[in-house]
Amino acid sequence: MIKSIQAKINGILLRVEEGTTILEAARRVQIKIPTLCKHPDLPASAACGICIVKNKGSSKMLRSCCTPLEEGMDITTHDPEIVEIRRTVIELILSNHPNDCLKCARNNDCELQKLTADFGIKEESFPQFLKDLPMDQSTKAVDLDPKKCILCGRCVHVCQENQDVWALSFLERGIKTRISPAGDIQLADSPCVKCGQCAAHCPTGAFVEQDDTVKVWRALQDVDKYCVVQIAPAVRVSIGEAFGYTGKNFTKKLYALLRRLGFQAVFDTSFGADVTIMEEASEFEQRLLKETRPLPLITSCCPSWVDFMEKFYTDMIDHFSSCKSPHEILGVLSKTYYAQKNKIDPASIFMASVMPCTSKKYEISRNEEMFSSGYQDIDAVLCTRELVRMIKQAGIDFENLPDEESDSILGEYAGAGVIFGATGGVMEAAIRTAHYFITGKELKKVEFEGVRGIKGVKETEVDVAGKKIKIAVAHGLGNVEYILNKVRDAKINNKEMPYHFIEVMACPGGCVGGGGQPYMVTDELRIKRAQAIYQDDSNKQIRCSHQNPYIKRLYKEFLGKPLGEKSEELLHTHYKARPIYTR
């Protein structure tokens, strides 16, 4: 039983559970204490000093983001003295921050800018001095501009504690403090897996996704290019947030939008997901029944997870599904299957994709197998935030567009394809089809609650023809260690494998919580976005990938059979051990 305590905030009496911070308690009585370094998704670092408040009877000021409200406290959140100190602190931060808002990627969407505007700060009271630090654009996915960094510490926390990647750390001290990989190396040489969680949590323009909008605009304006596009599952349920809608599914409007932008064919990554399931479920069937390769089978559709594995868990290479991601699969199919069927010269095809992810920007040139069509399978990746900017640039009234359909040849998907966007979705989709492949029977109930939800590690069992299939699902790379340690332990001690099938998504929540998604993500938002995805699935007539008529047609006309020669050539990839630091 959690004790409750009573206290006053701005004269208002309230009762909250013991341990509630002053910041949270204030919100319950409609008081918004200004913050800067605090992100609702992360624990407080107490760095900026803007959330300070007074407690009657004490001369000290408290940081409301991390101080629990205590019995009998009498808090003042706003008075001339407190506001003046907050202003001074903001002005101090601004004196060490570049003044080029107008040219910054975060213009109009920056937390520091908003705070400055809210406080009505119109002067530079203190002498301006900027950090003399170069940008790091080495990852080709996420750009770091240390000049704009306000040292809030969110990126370091996310990278170290949540993602367990440790690509970022604080270097030096005092006024010379900066964010960089340990050893002062470039991000591309560091453990960085390009997941973009840093960019998703950054309050300013210090960490920003690499901008590919210009590339896409140019292609759209190039008369010699045949532009096609695919959208990922997670994008449809989050793009509405830029227009004030949370958890709303904008699939059909997105199709309409992309055509208005000038794309000549609009596909859906969920279709690629269906293909992935066909291949991967077959893989699983083979490993389970014919023991061609070892179990557990580990999903491979997340490029950050692949990068992480190649760097830190090279002993798992054999367990990885050789299947490419739905993203890449759709890319290669568009320049082969689609091009052939519609008699389009694949050299002229420009394939763009809209992803919730920054890692996909790295994936498209990961190795030469991303060029299996004979050309770069995917030419440009836009993340959700970039598409929002393009919508505004194009002057389209997005939320009121009429609904349209996709180009069904590579756009019509089963429910199993769209649930890839949520953690556990790949696993659930795979079971639906694997069950059919192994037993020949369709499942009566296709929903698996055991793999859904935002618990970091989900372990459950599924009955397939009397055999108990043990499954593990992890999201957020910090949760990987637990699962893989169990696997390693079983290997060393010759014990039975703890799992048959493992799904890992690098981002917390799965792709809905991706590094390229709209800002200010919280678990609440992740759940809402996932719910909308599962709703999309339940609304579908066709729930399983193998039932999708367009999938059947693809295999009949083009691929032959799953894991066949054509599939191996176009849809599968290899992994390379690139160890960095031992684990």
């Binding site: 101080t67 907050r86 602190v89 101090l92 510490g153 001290r173 005092g174 006024i175 403090t177």
Partner: protein, 579 residues
């Protein structure tokens, strides 16, 4: 063997030294009266009194005569030779004396010998603590009223009690030996001179709190202290005073040394804990306080070296004994490291409540240079200046705070007219900016901006609005910084502004430094009367701003002078005026 000894020293610095004269006169008298083989006369270098004229001390009776005139010498010699008692009208009673409690063994025992320490009553405090049991031990500490000597002055018993009350499978004690204040070396001397006292205090703390593991966090810049603590810990293990079943009880403690790595901020409790955990040494928000949730999330008691060195005697002689010393709110003694423009710089241990004047003048001999004392700086980079007219303030935690300074860890720096009250805060602020961990914006950026303003002012580019800006940033740093470093970094500035704002104005409006310290704002000129026309200044001036020759003499062309100070440096006759 001599029955008596007469010590002589003339402590009047303003006239010629009469020590030898008095010595000869007394010796003559003794020889004349055939007393010279039973009474020894010695000239001493220092007799412990200052500015009290000719001083004579008689041993073994411990009689001191001051302001002795030539005519008095015969009376004194007579009284000593023929056992005529004391010459009452000349007897001098020294007012306050040092009370060496913490430092009682420093300078007496061999710090590398546990036998020496035990022979002088060592580890009896620990024995007493184990007999009393944990609750009674904390009671004694509470009765004593001892407050943390690291600077914050938090009641020690409360810290121990909080930790004791939390149920936990593991508790820690840490000795904070990361003494970082510039000019403070009390902790170093205690660790080098009497490491076992600190060790005993730490073991008692661990016992009272229920800790089974402890750390000494020592700054790496104290290699001798580290060596001696190492030896002490090893000796304690060998004697069964560490490890399991200490002194036959069920209590056990393991101790380890951890070295600092050059970060002043790691003297702050939560940053220190981070450092021991192997993380970046930055402070963390409190609550939770270390006593409740500290090292690796367990209850942790962190105490300063001097605090711990007091503990054994409190246990041995009782808390009530300790509470009799000092003032109502600040009990016991404090060790001060008195340095700067003072004659006798060194460590002074005195009961709380002694005045600054007593410490600086009576014990430390007053001004070094003969120039009057301008102010005394206390508390290191977190403290402020106390101007001369307030030196009669009794020293305790509350009084110093009221004056705009703090007790701090005990550093006391004496300043005279040659010390600039804008340059001093610039130095301290520069230190804080260098040592800031960089985590919170108010300290990281605020300190840097304040330093910028001070640099401007000392270089002659200040404007009157700068003072308002300094105050504004100071206030924000005080209220919004995450830890004590940022919260107190502006104290030297605010304190000098409070008492010496005129000097700031002088720098800003007249572009002049009254102390002659700020090199950009001093005027160099040739003092004709002293000038020997050697021409050294002329040949050494890097910008040929000195004109003249060996016949007519030399002078400085002010417009060309870049105020580098080279002429002042090379002149052998002190003929360059720098003001």
């Amino acid at each position: 063997m001599y029955e008596k000894t007469i010590l002589i020293k003339d402590t009047d610095t303003k006239r010629e030294d009469l020590t030898r004269q008095a010595y000869t006169q007394i010796l003559d008298f003794l020889r004349h009266n055939d007393q010279h083989s039973r009474i020894q006369v010695v000239r001493v270098a220092d007799i412990g009194l200052y500015d009290k004229g000719l001083v004579i001390k008689i041993l073994p009776e411990q009689i001191t005569y001051a302001n002795v005139k030539e005519d008095d010498l015969k009376r004194i010699a007579d009284a000593i030779s023929f056992n005529k008692g004391r010459v009452e009208d000349l007897v001098y009673k020294p007012k306050s004396k040092q009370e060496r409690l913490v430092l009682k063994n420093c300078g007496r025992i061999d710090p590398e010998s546990i036998d020496d320490y035990i022979a002088c009553g060592g580890y009896l405090g620990l024995k007493q603590a184990i007999e009393l049991k944990e609750d009674k031990v904390i009671e004694e500490i509470k009765t004593s009223g001892i407050r943390g000597r690291g600077g914050a002055g938090y009641p020690t018993w409360m810290k121990w009690n909080f930790a004791r009350e939390v149920a936990s499978d593991q508790k820690f004690v840490i000795c904070n030996a990361d003494e970082g204040d510039p000019g403070a070396y009390m902790d170093r001397s205690i660790l080098e001179g009497d490491p076992h006292a600190v060790l005993e205090g730490l073991i008692i703390a661990a016992f009272a709190v229920g800790a089974s593991k402890g750390y000494f966090y020592v700054r790496a810049e104290y290699p001798l202290a580290v060596e001696r603590i190492n030896k002490a810990i090893k000796q304690a293990y060998d004697c069964g005073l560490l490890g399991q079943n200490i002194l036959g009880s069920s209590f056990g403690l393991d101790l380890e040394i951890r070295l600092g790595a050059g970060a002043f901020v790691c003297g702050e409790e939560t940053a220190l804990i981070s450092s021991i955990e192997g993380k970046r040494g930055t402070p963390h928000p409190r609550p939770p306080y270390p006593s409740v949730k500290g090292l690796w999330g367990k209850p942790t008691v962190i105490n300063n070296v001097e605090t711990l060195a007091n503990i054994p005697q409190i246990l041995l002689k009782g808390g009530a004994w300790f509470a009799k010393i000092g003032t109502a709110t600040s009990k016991g003694t404090k060790v001060f490291a008195v340095t700067g423009k003072v004659k006798n710089s060194g460590l002074v241990e005195i009961a709380m409540g002694a005045t600054l004047r007593e410490i600086v003048m009576d014990i430390c001999g007053g001004t070094l240079t003969g120039k009057p004392i301008k102010a005394v700086q206390t508390g290191g980079p977190s403290g402020g200046v106390i101007p001369e007219h307030l030196l009669d303030t009794p020293v305790d935690y509350e009084n110093l705070q009221k004056l705009g300074s703090i007790m701090g860890s005990g550093g006391m720096i004496v300043m005279d007219d040659d010390d600039c009250m804008v340059d001093i805060p610039k130095f301290y602020l520069g230190f804080c900016v260098e040592e800031s961990c960089g985590k919170c914006s108010p300290c990281r950026i605020g300190g840097f901006q304040m330093l910028g303003y001070l640099k401007k002012i000392t270089e002659g580019a200040g404007n009157i609005n700068d003072i308002a800006q300094l105050k504004r940033i100071s206030y924000a740093m005080q209220k919004a910084s995450l830890c004590g470093l940022g919260q107190t970094a502006s104290n030297p500035v605010l304190s000098t502004l409070k008492y010496f704002e005129k000097e700031y104005i002088e720098h800003i409006e007249n572009k002049h430094c009254p102390a002659g310290k700020c090199s950009h704002l001093v005027t160099y000129s040739v003092i004709e009367e002293k000038c020997k026309r050697c021409g050294l200044c002329f040949t050494n001036c890097p910008v040929s701003a000195i004109t003249g020759d060996k016949e007519k003499g030399y002078s400085v062309i002010q417009e060309k002078c870049i105020k580098c100070g080279k002429c002042f440096e090379v002149c052998k006759f002190r003929a360059i005026n720098k003001k």
